[in-house]
Amino acid sequence: MRTGVLMPFLLVASACIPPLGLLGTPTLPAAIIIGAACILAGYLVSRAGRNDPVLFLIVQPCMALCWYVSPILTVALETVLVLGLLYSLGLLSGGENLALPVLFLMVIAAIAVLLSTLPHVFVPLSLFIPVAALTWLAILGLAYRTTAHTKGDAP
């Protein structure tokens, strides 16, 4: 499949799955409306030009609905979406580039499993905020190290 049509295809697929999974439930109309809105928005974005990260963002409300079908399905769809996005952006060419996405998706899958067992958001939310802060501090440190180490004396 050409990289230009991969993300629109995944968007349509992801928008169609929640209504199918929610057949016979009270949330079906909402799933249909949200799915249609996502497809319409995706169509408008695609007409304006190729913009895969935006399509990736547009499809996220459908993923929220998909959670009510099955958390595992949500993780599976997000995995496909992430891999599709990285592939279409050319960020997934080579074995070494695959290691980090796989690690990320495994962590996300573990988090999804944990979250699916919890009835309320208070405890995970209170854990998530400090962890996110620490993670971003570490990333800023890594960015500083990358910038500061390019003295130019090497090679």
Binding site: D52, P53, V54, L57, Q60, M63, A64, L65, W67, Y68, P71, T74, E78, V82, L86, L89, G90, L91, L92, S93, G94, N97, L100, P101, L103, F104, V107, I108, I111, A112, L115, S116, L118, H120, V121, P124, L125, F128, A132, T135, W136, I139, L140, L142, A143, T146, T147, H149, T150, K151, G152, D153, A154, P155
Partner: protein, 431 residues
Amino acid sequence: MEATRYTHGIFVAALAMLLCAWFLDSIPALFLSVFLGGFLAFRAIAFLRVAAAAGATLTLSRVAKPEILRQGGTSSIGTTLQIGVPPGVKAVISDIPPSGAPVIQGQAITPELEPGDHTLTLRYGITCLSSGSITWRGADLVLSDPFYSITLPFRGGAFRHPVLHVNPMGRYQRREGLGIYGEKDLEKLTVMKGYGIRAFRDYITGDDPRSIDWKLSAKHGKLFVREYSGTSGKYPLLVVDLPDSAVPCPENLRDTVLGAALEAARDMSTGPQGCSLMIISGANLLAFLPNERSLQKIESALFEFHSPQRSVQCYRTLDPVVAEAIRTRIAGNAGLQSDFMKRLVEIYTRFIPEMRPLPFDIQCARALSRRNETALHVLTTATGDVSHLATLGLYARRMGIEASLGLPDVMASPDLMRTLRGAGYALVKVV
């Protein structure tokens, strides 16, 4: 590291999901928030790893022609860059020219480089507005993917070569007369022919046919030849007086004087007697190059003592002969016999026999007493004490040497000009 529009959008979405999760107690919203936030973090880590790998592949070699040039001159630069751009990333490399050397031709920046191995050469021209030994500031590598961009500054020694040697630009004010030696036409015959015609005379067999004046010959019906006036000039001893580096002095003043000295030295070094150069800083003799023909040696000497420290200061030094003249004038004038003057005469009477010439006085006397030394031209910043200039002027006057002086335009105050004229400089010009 900077985030792109996509990253901002994903971050806002993650934040919105987080608020939804908090207010609606929604686990799916929290999951999406964690997922989107985690995605941004994962991309940041992956991007930084790729950026570090790309940075390690960058090599640069730069060629500048010429490497030695005058201030305001243009140098053509060829910068060869090699880089391996990782997949999914775009790169732009900027060669950063030295401070005070703007790019005037071409571009010192690459186009956006797609993933793959690249070897490319940037060709551009810079004009050197500042002087001295100047180096490049390095290179900047800007890497970007759809989510982040980062600028890696390469400032190490390998990215700063070569060194451009920019000689300061100065205008050497000619002395009176023509050319560097102040050539003047004389109304007498000399070995060197001048440009003017002093007389016409009948043609004598053996005269140079080129000197026949054909118009005059045609008018009178017989051959007339032109008799050219003679010419005379003086080989000046060039004295460059550099300011004390311990005292603040505007850099442009120093450069103006050095540039004027270099211009004069270039002309003089090709002359029959070479360039006689004396570099001083106050009453400190730094270098003396008599009849030097090598411009390289002259330039090295000027740049070696670019910022000297004056170990000897002679603030308002008094020459023994001048002091004796003052003492005699006071002692012989009845109108000046106040208590203070009497005391001054007494002090002078005691001190004058004990006064010894400074080493600088001896050096000046020796430099000016050389054979064929008939003119002295001093280039100075005229900052701080100028008593050493008075010493030089005094010795030149004693030895019957024509002394002239050049100083930067901004320093040429009427008081200073008057002082310097009084010190024996017949001609005070600004450089």
